[in-house]
């Protein structure tokens, strides 16, 4: 196929992405070599792509990365993701970043640099749209001088940064839409560990493994907020009620405030959390547009509290997906199923148990009755390795009752997931 234009070949090589594959393909003929040198816009050096990288010395890796990058021109997307490398030398990293400075739009880099390189200072800022950094330190952000006018997505994992610098960095990105913080090491100047971020363009925020006294997020346009594995005393979202997607997973927080206006909420997903029902109810009861609700492995602050279907049916008439997994105890089973309102729009029901018992099948049945247009039922169960006779019997009984139940609900597609 000599007819393919050299730019198109460059595009194919860019989709090939993995450096080793690109080098091999470019060795086929002169035209492909030129395509690699002049029309390659994306390249990736990733230990996931090729296991041989893991056997190479760090110096050898630095040399081959330098050699390969320096043969290209106009590189737009550079990924250097090496899991087993302890650190790259500062001079090598600086060389890579300086070489690609004018054209770089995406940088993915996860190796510690020795001595530490001020990546924000050196990498191309003017066209950068995606910055994904891990295992590096960020110091001395100067928003007047360092601006990232095109940056849309910022991801920092295991990055050491001060609360002030984080705040300044976000404000240096006038178009930022996505922010991801994973296990940051937030250096604090005073006793209270608190982070304050403000951006009117942020749409999606993901925070994992952070431990703070206070986290204040001011984001007038936010749509998705996801907190995972965090320990916070005080979390406050200040916005204009634009939140659509709210997820909390394994978070401990004493004061949680997502604002007064919750009418735009479409998905609420809470897992591994202790819910104070009255407060929670107050928070989401006005979310009449809610489409998906998931309360998984949740516990209630007050033991007598329970998620009652009547409340769910009346507060969320547009609900299509309902997922519930919590301890269904004898006293609360009937209370949770009381009332007669239907969940008119629920098409997918996911129910889970931690400890299998007879009550669970009763609960499943009770819920099925209330979902007139249900299409899919997924049962999640935890099965212990060493199964006692008692447990085996329970499982058998459960299976029997499920089969009988499904015979009566032939429109529903059942699925089982055990772990």
């Amino acid at each position: 196929m000599e007819n393919l234009p050299v730019e198109v070949i460059g595009n194919i090589l860019s989709h090939l992405k993995a450096a080793r594959d690109v080098v091999i393909a470019s060795a086929t003929c002169k035209k492909w070599r030129i395509a690699c040198c002049k029309h390659l816009h994306t390249i990736s050096f990733s230990s996931n792509d090729w296991s041989v990288y893991r056997d190479m010395t760090t110096t050898r890796l630095e040399i081959l990365i330098t050699q390969t990058i320096f043969q290209t021109s106009g590189l737009q997307s550079l990924s250097i993701l090496m899991e087993d490398v302890d650190e790259f030398s500062a001079s090598a990293v600086i060389a890579w970043l300086m070489y690609t400075r004018e054209t770089l739009r995406q940088l993915f880099y996860n190796v510690k640099t020795m001595p530490n390189v001020n990546i924000l200072e050196i990498c191309g800022r003017h066209k950068l749209e995606i910055l994904d950094l891990a295992h590096n330190s960020i110091v001395g952000v100067e928003p007047n001088y360092q601006r990232f006018p095109c940056l849309k997505s910022l991801s920092l994992s295991y990055v050491s940064i001060s609360a002030l610098d984080l705040n300044l960095l976000v404000s240096a990105c006038p178009r930022i839409e996505v922010l991801e913080l994973v296990n940051p090491e937030i250096a604090m100047s005073d006793a209270q560990v608190s982070v304050e971020l403000s951006s009117s363009t942020l749409k999606s925020v993901y925070v994992e493994a952070i431990s703070l006294d206070k986290f204040i997020l001011e984001a007038d346009g936010i749509e998705c907020l996801h907190l995972k594995d965090c320990a916070l005393e005080d979390f406050e979202l200040i916005g204009k009620g634009t939140l659509k997607n709210f997820r909390i997973d394994d978070v401990s927080v004493i004061h949680l405030d997502i604002g007064e206006i919750v009418e735009n909420l479409e998905t609420v997903d809470i897992s591994n959390f202790t819910i104070i029902w009255p407060k929670f109810y107050q928070m989401i009861s006005r979310s009449s547009n809610l489409k998906r609700l998931r309360l998984w492995d949740v516990m209630f602050d007050d033991e007598d509290e329970v998620v009652d279907l009547e409340t769910i049916a009346t507060c969320f008439p547009h609900l299509t997906h309902l997922s519930l997994s919590y301890d269904v105890r004898d006293g609360v089973l009937h209370y949770s199923l009381q009332g007669s309102s239907y969940l008119e729009n629920v098409v997918v029901l996911e129910l889970g148990w931690n400890v299998i018992n007879d009550l669970f099948s009763q609960w499943v049945e009770g819920l099925l009755k209330r979902c007139p247009i249900l299409k899919k039922l997924v049962i999640y169960g935890v099965v212990s390795e060493a199964k006692s006779d008692e447990e085996c019997k329970m499982l058998a009984n459960f299976t029997t009752s499920m089969v009988e139940l499904m015979r009566r609900y032939t429109d529903v597609d059942p699925h089982f997931k055990f772990e």
Binding site: M1, E2, N3, L4, P5, V8, N11, I12, L13, S14, H15, L16, K17, A18, A19, R20, D21, V23, I24, A25, A27, T28, C29, K30, K31, W32, R33, V52, M56, R60, L64, Q67, T68
Partner: protein, 154 residues
Amino acid sequence: MAEEKSQASSSKMLTLKASDGVLFEVELNIAKEMKTVQAYIDDCEDIETIPIPNVLGKHLAIVIEYIKKTNEEYDAEFEKQWNMDDLQLLLLAANYLNISGLQECLCKAIAKRIENKSPEYVRKVFNIENDHSPEEEAKLRKEYKWAFEGVDKD
């Protein structure tokens, strides 16, 4: 006002004539996805039949169907139906007609098929003639020794 306009333009039909003479009647908004065709229309407003000299009827049909149906699911399944020759001809067509979505989809598909392969395999697949001299070839292989280690026998 905007709605009327789009209704009017979507009902207008255009004829595309492939290199082997096969004619395709398409709606204007479909044809506009081909930037080359769009440019043609911009230049000569009253045109009704646009010649597409570089693309066979067989491939133009596939391209038009892609434009109509493209979405994540369709794209994922799309490339599986074609052999390497067709993929390349479709890519040439998408390139000539300037349809960026289809170009990306096809480049991605072709790249997938040459992942982890030797230069000889890639040459075979693309019908490439190795125009490196033996010295140049040896130099390349030496320079990029690291990449040529442990190449699979395909």
